[in-house]
């Protein structure tokens, strides 16, 4: 799902600079040269005005060309238990009760969060399978995917999903093809209540804080707040929640981070590994110098001949 009109900021499993890139720090912490920095895009999901109509689920499938599937009633309004490789946008429903017993029906649009520090990209060893554009979109290029699923491990939001048939991993692209053409993502366009907003990260952050302030001042949601987790350096999908102190109610992690071992592996461990690998080669060479080539057995040498 790469798009020519978007500028790439970071590439998975890639050594050296980003083609056409400007000066900026890549997600792996290294300084790169090339691309000029454009503004960051962002989706704002206001859970307080979502009515759970799921128009965004349909728009996502239609735009991305995935088929509708047969589902089963499961004592909930939620379409499926989880997102899938070909179902990227899911409204999660939760029946909650306030302390006084007042029922509250929480609905949260679940999709890729497009982290500023994308665990998937950091974890990915395949050159160019995952890219991060300068506008913040994290996108998978299935043609480069090797199916190792390290990205699944790297994601703190359980987003990338493996397709057993194609042996590739898929997820929400933030409609990079639409955004690259100057359009809003399909989910945003389909929202009938306007609970979904799209714009620059700065603007969305401003709108979100404004809304949260309004909720705290004028409603009983005294803990309303904005979910834009620092642990992954902020996200390009942010939420207004009725209660920012209880993100778990919306099945959002309280403090998502890129898993420690993924960071270690792609950070210090990568260098330690490189050194270890160099040492191994040196040892091999030393072994060769000392013992000479391994003699090949006669039989094996003739194995291919007809008998």
């Amino acid at each position: 799902m790469s798009n020519g009109t978007l500028e790439i900021k970071a590439i998975s499993g890639h050594r050296g600079g980003v083609p056409g890139g400007g000066n900026y720090q890549q997600a792996d912490g290294l300084q790169h040269e090339g691309a000029s920095r454009s503004y960051d895009v962002c989706k704002l999901v206001d859970t307080t005005t979502c009515i759970g109509c799921k128009a965004c689920e349909v728009a996502c499938l239609e735009w991305n060309g995935y088929e509708f599937r047969e589902t089963m009633f499961a004592n909930t309004y939620q379409t499926m238990p989880d997102t899938a490789w070909n179902f990227w946008n899911l409204i999660r429903f939760k029946e909650d009760e306030a302390e006084d017993g007042t029922p509250q029906w929480l609905m949260r649009k679940d999709q890729c969060m497009h982290c500023a520090e994308p665990g998937c990209l950091i974890a990915c060893p395949a050159d160019g399978a995952i890219v991060q554009y300068t506008n913040g979109i994290v996108d998978f290029n299935q043609e480069n995917c090797i199916g190792c699923q390290y990205c699944v491990t790297g994601c703190p939001f359980n987003i990338p999903k493996f397709n057993e048939e194609t042996k590739k991993v898929y997820k929400c692209t933030l409609c990079s093809d639409r955004v690259g053409a100057g359009l809003e993502p399909a989910c945003i366009k389909s929202c009938p209540t306007g609970c979904l907003h799209f714009g620059s990260k700065e603007d969305m952050k401003f709108e979100a804080e404004k809304r949260a302030t309004q909720l705290r001042a004028n409603t009983s949601y005294k803990n309303a707040g904005v979910y834009d987790p620092e642990g992954v350096d902020g996200t390009h999908v942010i939420y207004v929640l009725h209660d920012i102190n209880a993100p778990e109610k919306y099945s959002l992690p309280r403090n998502p981070t890129v898993p420690f071992f993924v960071k270690m592996w792609k950070g210090p461990l990568k260098w330690i590994g490189g050194i270890a690998m160099g040492l191994g080669v040196a040892t091999l060479f030393g072994h060769y110098l000392r013992f000479g080539p391994k003699p090949v057995e006669e039989e094996m040498n003739q194995g291919g001949k007809a008998r």
Partner: protein, 628 residues
């Protein structure tokens, strides 16, 4: 007077045997709060379809003609008597002047007759008044089915109306259709009504007994035709066909036109009891078999039939054949024609206003005067004179809708004044110009509503409890109970002690989307929402198959156990309520259930209607529930 509040309701408020009085209560509250005639105020209906307003404006109801002209009755001896009966006379309370706009009724009515019958309607023949049907009883929805069940109605043309699924008391409607001679259904899917002969539980033998001849006509979906939608704010918005009709499907108006022309041909050939009204109807379309909706819309707007002149208007003249710019031009001398006076101005000589898409909002009030066109006369807020004080100054200077301009000697503003433009404030004309006294009404005089001048609290016709205000008369006394063997009503204590209500889901659209894989993915199966306590009592777990039964029939579905519906304490008794989304039936995509369990929800609902608007009582009846 700076704060304004609106009441927005959806049709659930009308689904009661006292629905009209609920809406009246809302209107009274808004009048008392000063929320009428003001931007951001009013009582606003959210309809179940995109064009309910348009359907009502164009008389999709038996007791009105287009533009809310009352229908003639057998007592109206002639046109003059008819007009006299339906035209209110001005009443001026004390010093208040009165516009009484309905005093122009004769102009609207004669112009309507000219649109219907053209040259056949003349002053000499009483504007062909004898062509109009004289409505002698209430031909409302439920009455129609009742009469078919009684064998009096022999045939039905159903266009986009799935009468079996819509109900109420669907089995009565199914059995009524079994007694009809013929049924014509125009729809975009095979639906429950045209498939009544394969309804759940029917045996092969029973099928063989049915003699009804059924015709299915493939109509067009909304995206396949041009025309206008009229929204609840009365905007006429033109839309263009997005896709062609598939297969053998035809535009609905082409189907109607072909039926009409065929019927007219038969009348021409064979005569008949009263051919004049059919033969005399105007049908001046360039393609009679499929009239263009542009032509129809222009016909509804109306035109000058002779040169007309009016010194008080600008411009002062219109030539014969020209489209008219507004209903102030309509005449009762036969020189103008107009299909619906309220729509006059929607398609003037300059072109269609319904196709305008201007996004300017100079006042910042959200008026958008150049987006489409709203009746009447592009006035966006009705009774907007009430947005000003007695002296003609806006109550809120920061939110000015209209005001009195002393030097110009008329009302001006950001909206089109819904008022007599030159009536100076000192004349004290009342802002409610459609009432003969010009005032908003808290009291409904002259038996305007069947159940009285003031709203009253009533229980539904099927209720688990009594009305503490007046236990001897728990429910609406003027609601009619139907008397056929299919009309059963439960009483408290009959074993049906759970309150049931039905409703729609955002994921589905009526009984259509069960044919569409995308909607079926979102919500695949019918279910009933039940409180946790009730589920526990009945040993029902979420996802279990259950039977919901009323005194009339049984509905099969799965249970959704929820915290969102709580038991209620009513008159000291713990009372349960359950809720059923309406969208399923025995046609549409299969969901794995056996045929006999693919039941429509309205098998359960009673034959009970509001006495004013004739809306069925879907929002309260009695059931019991058990594991299937």
């Amino acid at each position: 007077m700076k704060k304004v509040g609106t009441i927005i309701y959806s049709v659930g408020w009308t689904h009661h045997s006292f629905g009209t009085q609920i809406i009246r209560t809302a209107a009274m509250a808004q009048l008392l709060l000063g929320n009428v005639g003001r931007a951001g105020g009013g009582v606003n209906a959210l309809r179940g379809h995109s064009n309910i307003q348009g359907a009502t404006d164009m008389a999709g109801v038996f007791d009105i003609l287009p533009g809310y002209l009352k229908v003639p009755t057998p007592a109206d001896a002639d046109f003059a008597a008819y007009i006299k009966r339906i035209t209110p006379t001005s009443a001026k309370p004390k010093e208040w002047d009165s516009f009484n706009y309905w005093s122009n009724t004769s102009k609207f009515a004669v112009s309507f007759m000219k649109a219907m019958y053209g040259d056949k309607a003349t002053k000499e023949n009483d504007w062909a008044f004898n062509y109009l049907p004289k409505v002698d009883r209430k031909y409302s929805w439920v009455e129609m089915w009742d009469n078919m069940y009684k064998g009096k109605v022999k045939g039905l043309l159903a266009f986009g109306m799935n009468g079996v699924a819509i109900g109420p008391n669907s089995q009565k409607n199914i059995d009524a259709l079994k007694k009809a001679d013929w049924l014509v259904v125009c729809d975009i899917y095979p639906e429950e009504t045209s498939s009544f002969w394969e309804s759940p539980g029917i045996t092969d033998d029973q099928k063989k007994q049915i003699k009804t001849e059924v015709y299915r006509l493939p109509g067009a979906g909304f995206a396949e035709k041009d025309g206008t939608f009229v929204n609840s704010a009365r905007w006429l918005q033109w839309k263009w066909a997005a896709v062609p009709t598939p297969g053998q499907a035809m535009l609905d108006h082409e189907i109607l036109a072909r039926i009409f022309l065929k019927v007219r041909e038969l009348y021409q050939k064979e005569g008949g009891k009263f051919p004049d009204a059919i033969l005399g109807a105007t049908w001046a379309y360039s393609n009679p078999n499929s009239p263009s909706l542009t032509e129809v819309a222009k016909e509804i707007n109306g035109k000058a039939l002779a040169d007309v002149h009016d010194d008080k208007q600008t411009p002062t003249d219109w030539k014969a054949g020209q489209q008219l710019p507004g209903f102030a031009w309509l005449r009762d001398d036969g020189t103008t024609s107009c299909g619906n006076w309220l729509y006059c101005g929607s398609w003037p000589d300059a072109g269609s206003n319904t196709q305008r898409r201007g996004t300017e909002d100079p006042s910042g009030l959200g008026i958008y005067p150049n987006w489409a066109w709203s009746w009447p006369s592009n006035r966006r807020v009705l009774y907007n004179r009430a947005s000003c004080d007695v002296s003609g100054k806006p109550w809120d200077p920061a939110r000015k809708q209209i005001w009195w301009n002393e030097s110009a000697g008329k009302w001006v503003g950001n909206d089109v004044p819904d008022f007599k433009a030159d009536s100076k404030p000192s004349d004290h004309m009342g802002p409610f110009i459609m009432q003969p006294e010009g005032l908003g009404r808290l009291f409904v005089p002259l038996a305007g509503l069947a159940d009285g001048p003031f709203p009253e609290f009533y229980e539904p016709m099927e209720s688990p409890t009594e009305n503490l205000l007046h236990p001897k008369q728990s429910n609406n006394p003027v609601v009619k109970k139907y008397s056929t063997d299919m009309d059963k009503y439960a009483k408290a204590g009959d074993g049906f002690d759970i309150v049931c209500t039905s409703y729609r889901l955002t994921e589905h659209y009526h009984y259509w989307t069960k044919n569409n894989p995308m909607n079926m993915e979102l919500v695949p199966e019918p279910f009933v929402e039940i409180p946790e306590d009730l589920a526990k009592e009945k040993g029902i777990a979420g996802g279990d198959k259950v039977k919901v039964s009323s005194v009339r029939s049984t509905y099969y579905c799965k249970a959704m156990v929820t915290k969102r519906i709580k038991p209620m304490m009513i008159n000291g008794k713990k009372t349960y309520q359950v809720g059923i989304p309406i969208h399923w039936g025995y046609k549409g995509l299969g969901d794995g259930r056996p045929e006999e369990e693919r039941t429509p929800i309205n098998l359960l609902s009673p034959t009970v209607i509001d006495p004013n608007a004739y809306t069925p009582e879907f929002k309260g009846f009695l059931v019991k529930i058990e594991k299937a």
